[in-house]
């Protein structure tokens, strides 16, 4: 019996909850947190979280390198964020109208993100991307949207990754280009007809799950901006996954490329449910004409939490911290893999690590690796990029590397 196997956790309570869930939730779980599509080592249900640590319902402790798929950017239950949330909660949360925190947050975002002259709030990342496209359509009077093939922009029918339950008309206005390939964008424009293009939507980098990640080519980013200017179309950046992990403002500001509209969610309130659309002034009138709303979109606690999160990100130099930790993780994981003798490929920004094993088309090695990591007390995902937070420490990286030694040896033993 291998060292990994001997450490395999007992998960009686998790299995019992899964059995109960299977009776009242379709196939036991749905969406991106469905553990049935992960190796059995991955728990489905969690009991507690604190800092960079998570505990499953059977009491096993993990260092979490998924950050709940992004929302946790300062550490779970971050004192400053929780204090701001508690202070607002003592007054009110869902109320007959918004609280002053909404104005404070809108001002903060407009001050922090270069292209932003206004903001609207919602709950889901999907709300934000959908609203951005509605604003683009309302402003331009056109309907076609160009998106990168394979990019994930949400789970509404126009965006979801499976066609079950989607009517073809709901996607009739989408045309596709290849990320980082300006010529493919030009072909898509030609196909669509230049006069029909309302928006080009893109991601700060190519972060399709299950594939190598690709940093944006600055020339590609600039060309998208030029094309949108020529077309009179909106350049929309979907910052939902990457926002505030690459830069304290918009992710493409270091490239000198500003979008017309951007969609944010996940990390902006360190786990509190919030999304935002940010836009240039010339799109404000269109934004005020569309009708979008939600029962909880004016909720005060997530807005107060977001103000504290965004202030703390700068005060803690979060991006610098994540880059330093991420660089160390990338370099030392590469060394380790070399020593163990397992070829690996790491791609994308270091603060959103992405690991692949060459030739691992069915993700068998990735699954072996993530299961071994889990059994050593480290949460990573076999097919999706991971996320670092400003709370991750060198000790956490040490624990990661210790587990990874085991994970890579398990991969080496793979048939």
């Amino acid at each position: 019996m291998s060292d990994t196997a001997s450490r395999e956790k007992v998960s009686a309570l998790d299995l019992d909850l899964r059995r109960r869930a299977a009776a009242v939730i379709p196939s036991g779980m749905y969406g991106h947190m469905n553990a049935s599509r992960l190796p059995p080592a991955h728990p489905q249900f969690y009991e507690r979280t604190e800092g960079t640590r998570a505990w499953d319902v059977d009491g096993h402790e993990y260092v979490d390198f998924m950050c709940s798929f992004g929302p946790m950017i300062l550490g779970y239950r971050h004192p400053r964020v929780e204090a701001a949330a508690a202070a607002q909660r003592a007054k009110g949360d869902t109320q007959p109208g918004p609280a002053p925190a909404m104005v404070e947050l809108a001002e903060l975002l407009v001050g922090r993100v270069a292209h932003a002259e206004w903001t609207m709030f919602a709950k889901n990342g999907t709300d934000a991307t959908t609203i951005a496209l509605m604003v683009a359509r309302a402003e331009t009077g056109r309907n076609t949207v160009l998106a990168a093939k394979g990019a994930y922009h949400g789970s509404a029918p126009w965006a979801t990754i499976k066609m079950d339950g989607v009517a073809p008309e709901e996607r009739a206005n989408l045309r596709y280009y290849e990320y980082n390939d300006a010529a493919s964008v030009e072909r898509a424009i030609e196909e669509a007809g230049a006069g029909n293009v309302a928006a080009i939507i893109t991601s700060p980098f190519e972060h399709d799950a299950g594939f190598d990640q690709e940093i944006a080519d600055p020339a590609f980013a600039r060309r998208l901006r030029e094309l949108c200017d020529e077309l009179g179309a909106a350049l929309v950046i979907d910052e939902v996954r990457a926002g505030f992990r690459l830069h304290h403002g918009g992710s493409w500001e270091p490239l000198g490329v500003e979008p017309d509209l951007s969609a944010w969610s996940k990390a902006i309130a360190n786990g509190y449910p919030l999304a935002a659309v940010l836009g240039r002034g010339r799109y404000a009138d269109a934004a005020s004409r569309i009708f979008v709303t939600g029962s909880f979109w004016y909720q005060a606690v997530p807005m107060a939490a977001a103000v504290a999160t965004i202030e703390a990100l700068r005060d803690e130099e979060a991006v610098t911290v994540m880059e330093r930790i991420g660089n160390r993780l990338r370099v030392e994981l590469d060394q380790l893999a070399h020593e163990v003798g397992v070829p690996i490929r790491q791609t994308g920004p270091v603060q959103m690590p992405n690991l692949a094993f060459p030739g691992d088309v069915e993700f068998a090695k990735a699954a072996t690796f993530s299961a071994a990591m889990l059994n050593r007390g480290v949460i990573v995902h076999p097919r999706h990029n991971w996320f670092l937070s400003a709370a991750h420490s060198d000790d956490d990286v040490d624990r990661f590397l210790d587990a990874a030694q085991n994970g890579l040896e398990a991969v080496l033993a793979c048939p």
Copy 2:
């Protein structure tokens, strides 16, 4: 100067926040909580809420008969709900996976709502109605959906009430019928082609904003069920607005009519952000095939709050309380209007009061009434139904009637 005018509130802080908001939020606010579409007496920003009371940022106290457009069903900051939320929050909220509270809540809803054999959770009412239609489409392999003309089922492009930013293709699969008119449903089926109908979506009663409300005719409800059975289509009830205010289970259970799918949100967690889709067993496979998800859909605190809310609703006999208070309000408001000499029309269920002034096509009288109520410390809406909660007391109704005397006199003085 009339008594009302002399009591008019000073709102310096609210006006200042509105000015700041106008600089960073399109037209200063969006959606259903946009106070710029209400008489100037209505505050835009709120400082605090407790029980049935709300305080605006200038410190004025109100008895709230809007319940934040529905979410507040037990009173703001209800001790049992807050205790359950706090206990979960001390452990974790947005985590690497769901908490046991998710299973507990799913079991509770399946036990409480007769037609439900499974449930899925989301954040917005719009998420729930959209998912229900996706499930219906996935199950039937058809795309057409019949909806009542003028009914509100959310603010996604397929459902929103304004066409700005909406591509026509996004609504291409909708056909319309008249609520409570079975013949119009049959005509819509014929138009669509019986073999194309995936679902008929409807509301527990007709609650279109700006119109008299209409209780469901039991024969109409039964006919919808029959038609769906004949077509092999899904009957979908949108419980987002009415859910748990008419009945402790599904709203049509007293009529003996069960839907295949139902969409819930607003009141199910007493203000915490949560939505749910409930379905019959035969739709579970389709529900497991669609891909829908959201970063915050697995958040544990709203689920723990929902468990406490749903238990408290039954323990406090919430529906009975709301009916009693609502009946008193309806009867005594009628008497008062008769005494003052102002014709009024009250429609819909008493626990979701709806007031109209005959001939008041531009809502001038309704606006005068709501402004006078506000100035007397009572929040109502001039064009949307109001909401009662189990926390509303006879004292609150007394305060309502006292303000209404003033409101009706102001209407009488209308030109």
